[in-house]
């Protein structure tokens, strides 16, 4: 519950229907798509404009309460969960595409625009927005900016940070700053690059300028079927090693195949296979087929049972649908899942996959893998039922071991889902105290008071000592 005076000002700013104060209505904002963490916010504000965001931030800051920005709540690291009665600022109502500047291949959007809907709108001009997280039909661009989201096609096209060229950001004191804008390069330091991936700790982006790409002339999608997941991992390593540049290279393992095939998004993957490898090439028509043939040959060499080519757009879409909805389809196996997001060097994929499978067996847990193999970005999904406390404990231990395994082989703890709440305590696996301290200092530049999304990303016990001369905020009206 927030103080009455704050409730009153929020209602004045965002209207009666723009503020949620009722304890019971706030229940639904307890968690994002990672349900292991549940914390009820003090209030939820649903502003419609940058002005309203500024007003709300000022009012909340005056009352000394923390602020958590939230898009569609599809995040997988607990980043949009409100700790300590924080006030959630949701961007769902800021969902307008403000401008599509087709000749300059640029769009300006409000943060609540849904990723896939931007591509639909841009499609009228023969353009699209490249980063395609698996949740793209639901997740928002604002959330993508916060998490620096990736997606299957980021293997070739790069992640969100490559496409965001300008931002209007409301800072922790309610001031608004414009970073970058009007194209790719702005002189001076790359503050846009700094902001993208800041996980709601630096401010709230209320206007986002992104670059668009022309829709590729041709697309060719292959499906390799493997009896052993290691072989699929080897094929990935071989395809990239041979100098091919697929737009996407995705592995879906046996348990995931069976969950997907059981769902409404059945893509026709054989249910007795232990791995399916989706390979996609795009670009100019000329040369596509040649690349696809080489990739198919490499799959066969690595031990593929069969390699299929999607014959038409419908088959291609079905194939992708199976991959993109895999996460949700896990609900058919178990009620809860913990999705990991570790990234490892590509060449270590076969041994890591074996290691993960061993850990799963040791803890008697089902681990389903569906991941961006080309980037070495693993998504082991540990399936469980949170009502079983003993199982929950095994899940936590297995999760930590998997992460340690990836780090030991030269990998890192997150590829695209962000650190959030879930991986904050694993940051010291990757960084030493000096590096964490440097990150704290950057964070304090944007948010000297620690108002924005506190308790996320950086472990508290690594922070700089109190009163260690914090730099001035970069804000200003």
């Amino acid at each position: 519950m927030v103080p009455v005076t704050l409730a009153k000002s929020l209602v004045e700013i965002c209207g009666r229907d723009g503020v949620i104060l009722d304890e019971e209505r706030l229940l639904v904002y307890e968690s994002d798509a990672l349900t292991a963490y549940r914390h009820r916010p003090g209030a939820v504000v649903l502003p419609r404009s940058t002005d309203q965001v500024q007003g709300a931030v000022r009012a909340i800051a005056e009352h000394g309460l923390p602020i958590v920005p939230r898009g569609a709540g599809t995040g997988l690291s607990g980043g949009a969960v409100a700790l300590d009665g924080a006030v959630v600022i949701g961007t769902a109502r800021m969902n307008r595409i403000l401008d599509i500047d087709a000749p300059n291949r640029r769009a300006v959007l409000q943060p609540g625009v849904i990723n896939a809907e931007l591509s639909v709108a841009a499609g009228a001009h023969g353009l699209y927005y490249a980063p395609d997280p698996s949740s793209q039909t639901a997740c928002t661009i604002g959330g993508n900016v916060a998490e620096n989201s990736g997606g299957p096609h980021c293997l070739k096209y790069g992640v969100t940070s490559r496409y965001v060229t300008g931002l209007a950001v409301v800072l922790a004191d309610g001031s608004m700053v414009r970073l970058g804008g009007q194209g790719r390069e702005s002189p001076g330091y790359d503050l846009v690059g700094l902001f993208v991936g800041s996980e709601g700790c630096f401010g709230i982006a209320t206007e986002i300028e992104v670059g668009l790409l022309p829709v590729p002339e041709g697309v060719c999608t292959l499906l390799g079927i493997f009896d052993r997941i290691d072989d699929a991992g080897q094929a990935v390593s071989d395809i990239v090693g041979a100098g091919l540049l697929p737009a996407a290279l995705e592995i879906i393992d046996g348990p995931t195949i069976r969950a997907v095939e059981d769902s409404v998004f059945a893509a026709g993957y054989p249910i007795d296979a232990e791995a399916a490898l989706v390979i996609e090439f795009d670009g100019m028509e000329a040369g596509l087929e040649h690349d696809a043939e080489r990739a198919a040959a490499l799959c066969a060499l690595a031990g593929a049972r069969e390699v299929r080519t999607a014959r038409d757009e419908d088959e291609r879409m079905a194939l992708w649908k199976g991959r993109k909805k895999a996460f949700g389809a896990m609900g058919r196996i178990a009620p809860d899942l913990l999705v990991q997001d570790a990234t490892v060097p590509r060449t270590t994929l076969p041994s890591i996959l074996r290691g993960i499978s061993d850990i799963g067996q040791r803890y008697d847990l089902v681990v389903a893998n569906v991941f961006h193999a080309g980037d070495g970005n693993l998504h082991p999904n540990i399936l469980f039922d949170r009502r079983d406390e003993h199982e929950l404990e095994r899940v936590e231990r297995a999760s930590k071991e998997i992460m340690q395994l990836c780090v030991d082989s030269g990998g890192t703890i997150t590829g695209e889902h962000g650190v959030g709440l879930d991986k904050k305590h694993h940051m010291d696996l990757i960084y030493g105290p000096d590096e964490l301290d440097a990150m704290w200092q950057v964070r304090r530049v944007f948010d000297p008071g620690g108002v924005m999304n506190p308790g996320k990303v950086l472990p508290e016990d690594t922070g700089p000592a109190e009163g260690a001369g914090l730099p001035e905020g970069i804000g200003g009206d």
């Binding site: 229940l27 798509a33 599809t74 639901a138 409404v264 996460f327 896990m330 009620p335």
Partner: protein, 441 residues
């Protein structure tokens, strides 16, 4: 007889398995018409499931404002089901949640009264007669014309306009005057036997659609038999959480259609079709009736499915530009997407233009216009704007609720675009094509 407390406990137990499938991925959010407009996650399928889960866990009282408001605000369009990777049976859970909510707090008087009327033949008949009599005076049409162009339709104005919208459409271009001659039934053994659900609203206000249904079925080689003692399908009761009444109505229809010995039951109201196709689940707890209910549910076909299976046979030319709005309970609840398009494609001279947002609910949603007039009106006017944007001269759909909701909305804009049931249009094509024999002039 089950007490509310008992009903609550059993509903909760039933919900448990279904709810747990939800992994909170959020893929349903953009599919939900109420979330899209309100932006509050409590008005999304995932949010509503979370509230149901909270009731199951004992963290939320089903009488609480939060539960009542957000469960009550759901259209029940089930657009969330086809996009759910985990296959959560949202529609079933919503009905149970409404039952639990209704036990905790009585639904509004008007809603209870309407359901009572629909579910009780001796009340429904005079009510529908009164409706027809009122409609025949031409007063509703006149009033609608006067009210056109003013504030968004709601309350009494919407009711008047909906009644006016249930009236037969004006003559279509190219139409020759006359009424179709009755077709003698040719009794042959190998024709599939079909019974038609007459329905309550459909029989009361859209008798012409029922008659057209019989004619187009016969023209496509089906033997249509009459099914006495049938009644309301119980869809509105189930959606409102009155599952007991829905079950007793289902039992009556089960017996009626079994006695008629039909191969298929043809549905021309997709809300009723979805409900009857679900009789197996509705009566699952009744050991004796459950297998029979499942068997009947397996015979339920939307009229468009039966027609598409036979081609359908082509009729005469209807030179008209139309657009098609997919009823939610046909597209989302029953997954019937192609057959209506095939029927439309079979009509010579017809130009079909796509309707942007055709898959989204029109806001009719049973008695939603009464329970949530403001939001229903908002969703409805978006649909109307979309229809106007296509430049179509008529809107085609397949459910009486949608016909009245969109028809009322269109009439109130003064645009003069009629709403027709798919079979009305096909029937007209057949009449022109001489499929019914000589036209009596």
């Amino acid at each position: 007889m089950s007490t509310p407390a008992h009903a609550l406990a059993s509903a909760v137990r039933k919900q448990e398995q279904g709810l747990l499938n939800c992994v909170h991925c959020g893929f349903c959010l953009p599919a939900c018409p109420t979330y899209r407009r309100l932006g509050d996650e409590a008005d999304s399928p995932r949010g509503r499931l979370y509230l149901m889960q909270a009731v199951v866990e004992g963290r939320l009282d089903p009488g609480a404002e939060a539960f009542q408001t957000h469960i009550g605000r759901c259209l029940g369009c089930r657009a969330c089901e086809p996009v759910c990777p985990s296959g959560v049976e949202y529609g079933h859970l919503l009905e149970l949640a409404r039952q639990v909510g209704g036990n905790a707090r009585r639904p509004p008087f008007l809603a209870r009264m309407l359901l009572r009327v629909f579910g009780t033949a001796w009340l429904a008949r005079p009510a529908m007669f009164a409706g027809r009599a009122m409609r025949a005076t031409g007063l509703p049409t006149l009033l609608t014309r006067i009210l056109a162009g003013r504030r968004p339709p709601k309350g009494a104005r919407l009711a008047v306009a909906m009644l006016a919208a249930s009236a037969p459409p004006p003559p279509l271009p190219g139409r020759t005057e006359g009424r179709p001659a009755t077709v003698p039934q040719r009794e042959t053994g190998d024709k599939p036997t079909v019974g038609v659900l007459a329905g309550c609203v459909q029989a009361g206000l859209f008798g012409r659609v029922n008659q057209a249904t019989v004619r187009v079925l016969q023209a496509n080689g089906y033997r249509v038999v009459s099914v006495p003692n049938q009644g309301c399908c119980g869809a509105l009761h189930a959606h409102g959480g009155d599952l007991e009444t829905a079950r007793s109505l289902a039992r009556r229809n089960l017996e009626a259609f079994e006695a008629a010995g039909v191969d298929f039951v043809a549905m021309n109201a997709s809300g009723c079709g979805a409900a009857m196709a679900d009789y197996g689940s509705l009566l699952a707890d009744d050991e004796e009736l459950a297998p029979r209910a499942r068997a009947l549910a397996g015979k339920i076909r939307d009229i468009s499915q039966l027609l598409a299976e036979r081609g359908p046979v082509p009729g005469g030319t209807v030179p008209l530009k139309v657009t098609y709005d997919a009823p939610c309970h046909l597209l989302h609840a029953q997954g019937v997407a192609e057959p209506p398009a095939r029927v439309l494609d079979s009509i010579p001279g017809l130009e079909v233009v796509p309707l942007p947002g055709a898959a989204e609910c029109c806001g009719g949603a049973g008695i939603y216009g009464l329970t949530n007039p403001r939001l229903g009106g908002w969703i409805g006017s978006d649909k109307v704007q979309s229809v106007l944007g296509t430049g179509a001269a008529a809107l085609i759909t397949g459910n009486p609720g949608c016909m009245m909701q969109i028809g009322a909305g269109l009439a109130l804009t003064g645009a003069g675009i009629p709403v027709l049931h798919l079979v009305e249009l096909l029937d007209e094509s057949y009449r022109r094509g001489g499929l019914y024999g000589e036209v009596d002039r």
